[in-house]
């Protein structure tokens, strides 16, 4: 079965997340977006885990569904065009802060569990080690290596996925808090890692340039801190809808169950370029080189972004592919496309209304972004949006790259272009 999965999200119990990040809203937004399997996030958090136990029931092997009593009231809010089954997979992200070789490391790691029992085992173990109740993504002074060991000891079917591996401050290969290699970070246990998450600021071709990542399959997730951010990156599977199906697709080098990934334009990510947000210095890595890495505003070293970091660690030229490569499609979230078409803010009421209206006419967001015939979109939402989606599908967007925590800004239409497209329409 073909399905889309987003396997890195958070609950309302994580720091800096939306208050409505609960199971009902995940269920709702997964359907708006067209996600069939969504991570639970935060399963180590005792209260969230209680909610998972209370509101979910086992579905297909290792996956869970929202109990009818909780799902039914939500269903009314979902346009019939979007209604679909939603499955949950137990996930959690841990923030590891520790010192190795006299350098402070801050690495975020994901754990997927095949059962409540396996999840509970990890929860118990981590509860002995540190505080797991303050933050859904707990901070532990534990070496990533040890976390991996705990994960494997708790259940051999647990999956361990280094999260957004290029993020400067919080990742396995990050320029500021990470390591230069997976070997250095995970030592002899690295063979038990099958997948790594590319994060928003890198795309698969950037990752293919590192031989050390050859053995890993690349996955992409939203890391959503609010329901509406679900699926800003995701994975397309074509395999058995079960934990085992996903496990095999990630762990077995010969399995073709992971078909492709849906990706942010990496330039749109918060850390693509180098720079200083507070000094408004945004540099391409070559520009950084010219300045010896020092900010022209404050004179301190700039935050080295993902593009430069990949360049530093890459041992292959651009254009090469890794052993386990998969095709990918760059996407822009539909609300951003609507906003761009209307030349309005993403948060504006008109955009929100248009979003719901299009969904109810055509179907879920991924269908609209990826598969829906352009003519249908024209009819339902006008030529400008259809053209916007067309350009997105072809990768014809211009982006001012993100840097030092600032998202990149997408631009699809030049000044006056929208009117031009509309006029063309009125000619016929």
């Amino acid at each position: 079965m073909k399905f889309i999965a987003d396997l890195h999200i958070h609950s309302k119990y994580s720091r800096a997340t939306a208050k409505n990040l609960d199971l009902e809203n995940l269920y709702l937004w997964a359907q708006y977006k067209g996600i069939h399997v969504v991570g639970t996030g935060d399963f180590v958090h005792p209260q969230w885990f209680k909610e998972l136990e209370a509101k979910l029931e086992p579905a297909e092997n290792g996956l869970f569904k929202l109990r009818d009593e909780f799902a039914n009231p939500v269903d009314a809010q979902i346009p019939p065009s979007c209604r679909a089954q939603v499955r949950f997979l137990l996930t959690v992200e841990i923030s590891n802060i520790y010192k190795r070789h006299d350098k402070v490391r801050k690495v975020h790691n994901l754990i997927y569990a095949p059962s409540m029992k396996a999840a509970q085992k990890i929860q118990t173990k981590l509860g002995q080690i540190g505080n797991i109740s303050s933050d859904g993504r707990p901070i532990l002074g534990l070496d990533s290596y040890d976390l991996l060991k705990i994960t494997l000891d708790a259940d051999p079917k647990n999956l361990f996925v280094p999260a957004h591996i290029w993020t400067p401050w919080f990742s396995a290969l990050g320029s500021m808090g990470g390591f230069d290699s997976m070997e250095e970070a995970f030592g002899d246990l690295k063979q038990h890692i099958y997948a790594v998450e590319t994060g928003l600021s890198s795309d698969p071709p950037m990752n293919w340039r590192l031989k050390q990542l050859d053995d890993y399959i690349l996955i992409s997730n939203s890391d959503a801190h609010s329901p509406a951010k679900l699926g800003r990156e995701a994975n397309v599977f074509d395999t058995e809808l079960s934990y085992e199906g996903i496990y095999k697709a990630l762990s077995d080098p010969n399995d073709k169950g992971l078909v492709s990934t849906l990706e942010f334009f990496p330039e749109e990510g918060k850390y693509h370029y180098d720079g200083h947000r507070s000094c408004q210095v945004r540099w391409h890595p070559l520009e950084t080189l010219k300045h010896n890495g020092l900010c022209s505003g404050c004179g301190k070293p700039v935050t080295v972004g993902v593009m430069a970091r990949v360049e530093t660690l890459a041992d292959r030229v651009e254009g090469s592919k890794s052993k386990r490569w998969r095709p990918y499609q760059n996407i822009v979230a539909l609300p951003s496309l609507i906003a761009e078409a209307k030349d309005m803010g993403t948060g504006s009421k008109a955009v929100q209304e248009a979003y719901m209206s299009i969904l109810s006419k055509l179907g879920n967001e991924f269908y609209i972004l990826l598969d829906c015939p352009l003519d249908d979109i024209k009819r339902a939402a006008g030529d400008v949006l259809a053209e916007g989606i067309n350009r997105m599908r072809q990768g014809k967007v211009s982006i001012a790259a993100g840097y030092d925590g600032e998202f990149g800004t997408i631009k699809i239409f030049e000044l006056g272009e929208r009117e031009h497209i509309e006029q063309q329409l009125s000619l016929y």
């Binding site: 720091r15 800096a16 939306a18 923030s95 802060i97 520790y98 010192k99 402070v104 801050k106 080690i129 540190g130 505080n131 303050s134 933050d135 707990p138 901070i139 532990l140 002074g141 534990l142 070496d143 040890d146 705990i150 993020t167 400067p168 401050w169 919080f170 500021m176 808090g177 801190h225 609010s226 509406a228 951010k229 918060k270 070293p301 979230a333 609300p335 803010g345 993403t346 948060g347 955009v351 929100q352 979003y355 719901m356 925590g405």
Partner: protein, 483 residues
């Protein structure tokens, strides 16, 4: 013999000193344990096969650490006993049980074993036992001892008292003197009268004592230790030599100067370079003080999420928060917990931790499977012997430092030494914080800064004022507003 590169001249003199008892006066960060272990390693080869060295540490943990350090240095481990006074004495009692008046099945009392006596009574009796060689027993004392005997128990203090009694047997004393040719005592400033008496029996007739410690760090007066023991060393042990280690390898020069000023002009030679930071912060309340501390920690470890990230300079294990009273920890723990910053509270040092032979008490160290880093919270007392790149001392207020509060009052000079111990734990950053208002034991107190702060020269202090912490630094997701 040539001086090895990892010892300075004064340390080297202490290592190779021969022919008399020696007191090594070692200020904070002067390489005390290093010197001690090197001296032990230096002396072991001079022993005859049936002779050994007795090395007394202050805690079991320190004993383990010393053993670890000696592993590479000493080939004849069998000629070495490393342990606390209590573990040494307990093994004496067990080995020579027939010469004691103790029941065959005696057990060392743990706190749960003792019922029917209030805390104050127990403290008073304990103080008597550790400071008086001859006790005039009152009714409480008699009842307590009867209780112990009826239950085949001895308490921690009895371990030493019974051993002292045992050593009145001159044959045994001679035997021990023939066996233990050198005796080492760490943290000598904290040894009490009974321990001193034990040493006087053991360190005679050619047995040489090496005592090491720092009179300025004597902080266990309430437990019967007497700083005078330190000052009387040359009297107690004839023809003793006193050596002083003067070079500090722990703290940044400015921090060393500052702690020296608090201690009335102690001058150690700073061997480290680099700028230390001594920050004074006044908060409105103890809660605000805790928020300030936690916010600083968040900054030091480079932020906790993407939006507050900075280059991480410190790890969790680099940081300690110290306080005078255990009860001060709650508000700090709360603030740390709120941000999910991992921390551990080292509880007030229990007697069992300081003194006892854990195995004999049936308490085994928890097996540490993973090395987990956390911010350390502890009392100033518990911080003794430790060091951290960053130290916060909270509650630097009059009546709290020095303590003079609700009937709790401690010896003024000992309080000053306690503060000195706290300050000298810091390697690079030292934060001294105080609050204007503090909740303590259900009362709101209006507080003034600790007089110790005024002892530090102004040019060494940086005053930091709280900036208002912005509510939540989440940039609201634009799409979050959808619906």
């Amino acid at each position: 013999m040539e001086k090895p590169a990892d010892l300075n001249e004064l340390q080297w003199q202490a290592v190779i000193h021969e022919g008399s008892h020696v007191l090594i006066s070692a200020g904070p960060g002067t390489g005390k344990t290093h010197t001690l272990t090197r001296r032990i390693a230096h002396l072991i080869p001079t022993l005859a096969p049936n002779e050994s060295i007795l090395a007394i540490t202050f805690t079991n943990k320190a004993a383990l650490q010393m053993q670890d350090r000696l592993v590479g240095l000493v080939t004849r481990q069998s000629q070495l006993f490393v342990g606390t006074f209590h573990s040494f004495c307990l093994s004496l009692l067990r080995d020579h049980l027939e010469h004691t008046a103790l029941p065959k099945d005696f057990k060392v009392a743990s706190p749960e074993d003792i019922t029917g006596f209030d805390k104050a009574t127990l403290e008073r009796i304990s103080h008597l036992k550790s400071t008086q060689l001859i006790i005039n027993p009152d009714d409480d004392y008699k009842a307590y001892q009867r209780y112990l005997r009826q239950n085949s128990l001895i308490d921690f203090d009895d371990i030493l008292c019974e051993a002292l009694l045992l050593l009145e047997d001159e044959d045994l004393a001679i035997q021990l003197r023939q066996q233990y040719r050198y005796i080492f005592v760490d943290e000598y400033q904290d040894s009490n009268t009974v321990q001193n008496a034990l040493l006087k029996i053991l360190a005679r007739d050619g047995v040489l004592l090496t005592a090491i410690g720092d009179a300025n760090q004597s902080i266990y007066g309430f437990r019967g230790s007497q700083v005078e023991v330190f000052n009387k060393f040359e009297q107690d042990f004839s023809s003793a030599k006193v050596l002083t280690l003067k070079e500090n390898y722990r703290s940044a020069p400015s921090l060393l100067t500052a702690s020296g000023q608090v201690m009335g002009g102690v001058q150690l030679l700073a061997k480290l370079e680099g700028q230390g930071k001594l920050i004074i912060h006044q908060a409105l309340t103890d809660r605000a003080e805790a928020d300030y501390v936690v916010h600083q920690i968040e900054k030091l470890i480079g932020g906790l999420d993407m939006n507050t990230s900075k280059r991480a300079v410190r790890s969790l294990g680099d940081i300690a928060i110290l306080y005078r009273l255990n009860t001060q920890r709650h508000v700090l723990a709360q603030a740390l917990e709120h941000l999910g910053i991992p921390f551990q509270v080292s509880q007030k040092i229990q007697k069992s931790e300081v003194y006892s032979d854990e195995d004999a008490l049936g308490q085994h160290e928890e097996v540490v499977e993973f090395n987990v880093e956390k911010v350390s919270l502890m009392t100033l007392h518990a911080a003794k012997g430790l060091e951290f790149p960053v130290v916060f001392i909270v509650g630097c207020e009059d009546h709290l430092l020095p303590l003079d509060l609700m009937g709790m009052k401690s010896d003024a000079s000992e309080e000053r030494r306690l503060f000195y111990v706290g300050m000298t734990r810091a390697k690079e950053h030292l934060y001294l914080t105080h609050a204007k208002r503090r909740q303590l034991f259900g009362q709101t107190m209006i507080q003034n800064p600790s007089p110790y702060l005024a002892n530090i020269a102004e040019e060494l202090k940086a005053y930091e004022v709280t900036k208002r912490i912005p509510p939540k630094r989440i940039k609201d997701d634009l799409q979050m507003k959808l619906f």
